[in-house]
């Protein structure tokens, strides 16, 4: 499959802290990539660099043959790379439907539609339907129709997560980066939620990168895994291979167990 996003030798330092060291990854179109690693391993830094929130010290990010390393987040969103957040970023005083309409309004505005002199209800680019219909359709796909007229600030945690991801769909992304989409969601609800998100995202045809700590979720939904440790990618392979990698087992999957074993060993000594 064709490479749609190519990160090349990304390096990022915050003082003495290395957040990214020679991070390279070529993401293929329509793939689903899981990003794993302990806290501080560099997953979110990787997402932040792709989406323009922070700029790498060195290295480049190429999207469909275009260097996007220096672009601002809004410009990166405009070309089709959208993201959700670990802590949902919503418009708290607006209803769920209004949240969607703000996003779709921006898409219309950027396309030169819905301006001061516009009349009627222009179709949203990529959806071939007016904003209201697109909003209803996206909300339905994410199971949010029942919350349509509720204010975002009163939504339960899982619903807030879903709305945060649904908002990213307004711009019809070709690449979607989901930062811990199931964090804060109960273990029983995780799989159902990911099923819904993946179905909704895939229905619109997007390449997905998602950060996840639950290895069962990663095994089930990712086609490929990038394992981060100490700012580096230590494994880049299919889930069954990556999760069986000794380094990944030691530093990522079994990091917690390994630490507990060490502590137990010290206590016994």
């Amino acid at each position: 499959m064709a490479v749609v996003l190519d990160a090349r030798d990304l390096n990022k330092h915050f003082g003495a802290v290395t957040a990214a060291m020679n991070v390279s990854a070529a993401i293929e179109q329509d793939s689903v990539v899981g990003l794993i690693g302990t806290n501080g391993a560099g997953k979110t830094t990787f997402i932040n660099m792709i989406t323009g929130y922070i700029k790498p010290d060195t290295g480049s990010i190429v999207f469909n043959g275009r260097d996007i390393t220096a672009l601002a987040p809004r410009d990166i969103t405009r070309i089709g790379i959208c993201r959700s957040f670990q802590i949902p970023q919503l418009y708290a005083s607006l209803t769920v439907f209004e949240n969607m309409m703000v996003g779709l309004g921006v898409v219309l505005h950027n396309a030169g539609l819905g301006g001061f002199f516009s009349r009627g209800r222009p179709n949203v680019p990529g959806y071939d339907a007016p904003a209201q219909e697109v909003a209803e359709r996206i909300l339905e796909r994410f199971g949010l129709s029942d919350y349509r007229d509720k204010n975002a600030q009163v939504l339960p945690g899982g619903v807030r997560k879903l709305l945060d991801i649904a908002l990213t769909m307004a711009a019809k992304p070709s690449i979607l980066l989901l930062d811990e989409p199931t964090s804060g969601v109960s273990a029983e609800e995780k799989f159902g939620m990911m099923e819904m998100v993946m179905a909704a995202v895939k229905a619109e045809g997007a390449t997905v990168l998602f950060v996840e700590h639950d290895m069962e979720v990663v095994s089930r939904f990712a086609q490929r895994v990038l394992a981060f440790y100490d700012g580096r990618i230590i494994a880049d392979a299919a889930p069954e291979i990556a999760l069986a990698d000794p380094e990944v087992k030691r530093y990522v999957v079994g990091g917690e167990l390994h630490r507990m074993d060490e502590e137990q060993g010290k206590a016994n000594a």
Binding site: F85, Y91, S93, V102, V106, H109, F116, S118, L167
Partner: protein, 315 residues
Amino acid sequence: MSPDTHRDRTLPILGAVLLAVIVFGPLLPKWALFLLTIALAKGLVSLGLMLQLRAGLVSFGQALYYCIGGYTAGSLGRFFDISDMLLQMICGAFAAAFVALILGFLLARYRGIFYGLLSMALSMILYGLLAKSESLGSTDGINILPSTVFGIRPAQEWVRYVVIVTGCSVAVLATALVHRYLKTPLGRLAPAIKDNEIRVEYMGASVRRAIHVKYVIAAALSGIGGALAATAVGHIDPDMAYWTTSGEFIFIAILAGTRSVVAPFLGAVIFGIIHTTAFDLSPNTWQMTLGISLLLVIVFLPEGLWSLFGRRKAA
């Protein structure tokens, strides 16, 4: 935002107000016409403040553009012998918008108290400059040429009526344009900017640009208001840029709330009534009456006057 569940009556209301001014204007005493004209002028400035308030920004220096509008009108008469009030209002709007376009590059970078105080600082700089400018009358200010409309000077007894009808026509047109703007995606971005700038940027919009646009529109409205007030009063002075003048506009904006483009005008009329009555009854403590009024509004009508007319009346 959502499909309108109620009929938007803003444009009919604006039309009705203009019609009422045209029809009932001749029946009103001159002092009432004067007070209403000033309320129109201050309502325009407060409408500009409302645009900023919707995005979570409070300008403590909107008097800067009110003053620029007024001095543009005054300068047109003093230096170019132009007394046409329509031309004065248009030039006032453009002069204010031009200054805002430049200052907006600075202001749009700031939020919260920094935005408010920086805007106040800029208005006080203008106050200082005008107070020292002898060609513009220094602290005494200058008089405005008697108003004309399309080159015609109305008879003395009709001046107040002509001024308010012309001012009201321009105000209604400007308010209708703002109403239209608020229905565009860029106009609707204001509450989103107030709620979450990060999300707005990650939806693909420039927050800074959106604020800059609102700042320029607000300045243009204030410029019109300043020119109208100058025409009505017949005199301008640096106090138009003083921080207490900005305080009046904030009072009106809080009184009005942010739900409707009509509300700032209603707020300005009520402010005028409270101000005039308080000053008449108690010349030495009228500020206290204003303060108590503001306190009552904040406590009992936290979303402004328009909350009296229904929960979801949109702009």
